[in-house]
């Protein structure tokens, strides 16, 4: 008796494809975190070798400083802007921003709140120290200057 079946190469089984995709999916679910804000300023971070990782993401609030992105430049020009949450804000708004960020945290975590300043490397220190001054006034004294890690010692 002849064996039944077509000639030629049998099709590759795709039964394990879902498993492979699920594996990639789980990798992404674990290693990433949800995007919270749309970034409206261009921030090319300065690089440094001695950076520390901020472990607890929920304790970190971000202040972005830099030139508006291209789509916003028609309205806002090219002068550096401060972005809090989802929009450009002025300096005095930082007080309120810090207060609202602090309210989101539990009582025990408030002392550990860190404000991360994500500023473009071409920014001038004037605006940064204005922001720092505002943060002192808001009593948010733990800050972190965002920088990307380089292996070499900064040179």
């Amino acid at each position: 008796m002849k064996k039944k079946g077509k000639g030629g190469i049998p099709p590759i089984s795709t039964a394990s494809l879902p498993d492979v995709i699920f594996m990639i999916l789980f990798f992404f679910m674990i290693s990433t975190s949800m995007r919270e804000t749309d970034i409206l300023v261009k921030t090319q971070l300065p690089s440094a070798s001695e950076v520390a990782k901020l472990e607890k993401k929920q304790l970190v609030s971000h202040i972005y400083i830099g030139q508006p992105v291209d789509s916003q430049q028609a309205q806002w020009g090219t002068a550096p802007q401060i972005q809090l949450n989802d929009s450009y804000q002025r300096l005095p708004d930082i007080l309120e921003f810090v207060a609202s960020e602090r309210d989101k945290l539990s009582e025990a975590d408030r002392m550990a709140m860190t404000v991360m300043i994500k500023a473009d490397k071409s920014t001038r220190m004037g605006i940064i120290s204005d922001v720092k001054q505002e943060l002192r006034r808001a009593n948010a004294l733990k800050i972190s200057y965002a920088a990307s890690k380089t292996l070499a010692a900064g040179q």
């Binding site: 999916l25 990782k53 991360m116 500023a119 120290s129 943060l135 006034r137 200057y145 920088a147």
Partner: protein
């Protein structure tokens, strides 16, 4: 003849599509980058009615002023310094190996060790004061902060090797605290001057 009747298997062919859909959702909605940065503690705003008393003033020999001007030149105690020499200059100043009269004083501090003993160590009272101009670029400011951090972490590493014969990163929490007390990181970030007219 037909075989035995069996319950038909559920077709799993679309499982891959579902998984792909979820995967793409997570790719779009999440970010991967971990926040890294140079952490600093800002000084609290002094109350308006505060008087500067004599013991609050930093002794002049303990102070290392670093100023970055609007052209991104670095002045360490008034002398122009290249950024590559900054770490060594800071370490030299803080450690004061020769107990120079014009360099920082040291104070013996008793630190409680995790095993219950006390460790008396001379702690340098140096303060590094970093001032910038309003026109200084943020890039050079971070580079200088980076060099300062490097100077202090190298000193901590040395202290850790001398005391525990282990690297600072391998220490336990209490030992790490002892080293941090022995080698504090006194970097003062003063408000900027405005010379450059920016």
């Amino acid at each position: 003849m037909a075989g035995k009747r069996q319950i038909q298997e559920i077709n799993a062919g679309s499982m891959a599509d579902i998984a792909f859909l979820l995967l793409i959702f997570f790719l779009v909605a999440t970010t991967m980058n971990v926040d890294t940065g140079i952490t600093r503690q800002l000084p609290p705003i002094p109350p308006d009615d505060m008087q500067v008393t004599e013991d609050m003033r930093v002794n002049e020999r303990n102070l290392l002023p670093i100023f970055i001007n609007t052209y991104d030149n670095i002045l360490v105690a008034g002398r122009p310094t290249d950024i590559t020499q900054l770490t060594d200059a800071v370490k030299q100043f803080v450690i004061n190996p020769t107990n120079d009269e014009n360099m920082p004083t040291k104070k013996n501090v008793d630190i409680e060790m995790p095993d219950g003993s006390t460790w008396t160590v001379p702690v340098s009272e140096a303060v590094v004061s970093l001032t910038s101009d309003r026109g200084t670029s943020y890039d050079i400011y971070i580079q200088v902060q980076n060099e300062l951090t490097r100077a202090f972490s190298e000193m901590r590493e040395d202290a850790s090797m001398a005391k525990f014969n282990r690297s600072f990163v391998d220490l336990g929490d209490e030992e790490r605290k002892a080293i941090t007390d022995a080698v504090p990181q006194p970097i003062s970030e003063a408000e900027p001057r405005n010379v450059g007219g920016n």
